[in-house]
Amino acid sequence: MNEQKHDNVDAELLRRARGRDADALAALCEQIYPKVLKYMYYRCRPDTADDLTAEVMLRVVRGVERQNGSFWAWLYRIAANVVIDKARSAKSRREETMDEQMLAQRPEVASAPAAVGRHLDIQDAIGQLTDDQKELVVLKFVQGLSNAEIGEATGRTPEAIRALQFRALAALRQILGEGDKE
């Protein structure tokens, strides 16, 4: 399995970033930007991921002075809130919901062409999950967070995470046409 455990953010770096040290803020942004982008990319529409990531970065820069506790849990709470805000905003404008907007996944250029199709399938399938399932799948398997980190970011108990994880993967498999018909 591709282990994507997030490196701990250096405590000294965080302290300096909280003090609005420019280099520290830049280093922090550089560390978290790809991870936030990937979260948004798989959680939402690929073509909105850049803008949603930008919004997360703004909130991080704005709020890092007051950040405490687990940095990653704090970061993914911000990211989840940005997704929720975006969905509310879209709803209020009677636009499509985030789920309906979910489209295909961008394949990696270096991938073999055959992988393109599979990535599209998986992205489509993620888009058809419930929002809770989608969040869990992205945090746990795409981002590589542990159950403890997910618990801290989402407020779920370990038992709830395990149950949701099972349901999400089963649903994903069903959507991909690989599961038993219920």
């Binding site: 399995m1 420019a22 690929p46 393109v116 149950a163």
Partner: protein, 249 residues
């Protein structure tokens, strides 16, 4: 004591994350193994999904917004934004950035130039034909990525995708007979793959783009069939090569 499937799945995932083989655990619970095993395969695929790369214009917009957000710290943030940009560019590397560039990106022309140089530095006809196939594959990948980035269906990329495949075919008569069959089967496979990918895209686009895609899908389909006829697939004359086209037996 038999765990719940949810618990067993989680145990296996944690075991995999530490480099272990989930079968070590599943063997102890054969009654649940068949239920859990397929889900584990899926987790590996999810973990292997590719990292997205930000588009340069969006990154610049982000940096500008970061820098302008708070007047009281504008100077610090401006500096942070500049450092961030340098780190991103240096970290990703110009070559990698060029390889991932799409039409409209400032590095896309670098990518095309690199491809052209690669082609003209290749003297062997078979290698040239292989490059043409690779370029055709690349154009399809770019077209899909460009669409997913919100750029719509790029007709130019579709044309180039077909042209590169045709250019590859134009080289094929110069190939040794023994190699030609294998090469044609690769073109057949490529055409069929392009056709099926575009058919899936077609379901997501508007009417006008559907028409464009239909035209290209037809062209890919015809090319695949043509290759298969040339190779005698589908019950035709026996040839000394084996077709890898998925449509053929």
């Amino acid at each position: 004591m038999t765990p719940e499937p949810e618990e067993l799945l989680d145990q296996c995932i944690e075991h995999m994350r530490t480099g272990g083989d989930p079968e070590d655990i599943l063997r102890q619970h054969p009654d649940l193994a068949d239920e859990v095993r397929p889900l584990l395969g899926l987790t590996s695929e999810l973990a292997g999904l590719p990292d997205p790369r930000p588009s340069m214009p969006t990154l610049m917009r982000t940096l500008t917004r970061l820098a302008l957000r708070r007047p009281t710290s504008r100077r610090a943030l401006m500096r942070a934004a500049a450092v961030f940009l340098c780190v991103c560019l240096a970290g990703w590397g110009a070559v990698a950035a060029s390889a991932n560039a799409l039409p409209g990106d400032w590095l896309y022309s670098v990518k095309l130039l690199t491809e052209r140089a690669q082609f003209f530095l290749t003297v062997n006809n078979e290698a040239k034909a292989e490059l043409r196939i690779a370029f055709s594959e690349q154009r399809l990948t770019e077209m899909v990525r460009n669409y997913e980035r919100g750029g719509g269906i790029d007709k130019q990329l579709l044309r180039e995708m077909l042209d590169e495949a045709q250019d590859a075919l134009d080289i094929s008569p110069t190939l040794p007979e023994a190699r030609r069959g294998l090469f044609l089967s690769r073109v057949a496979y490529l055409s069929d793959f392009q056709k099926s990918t575009l058919e899936r895209l077609k379901e997501r686009v508007g009417e006008e783009e559907q028409q464009e895609l239909t035209r290209v899908i037809d062209a890919c389909g015809k090319r695949c069939e043509q290759m298969c006829r040339m190779m005698g697939c589908g019950g035709g004359a026996q040839r000394q090569w084996t077709c890898t086209c998925p449509k053929c037996p």
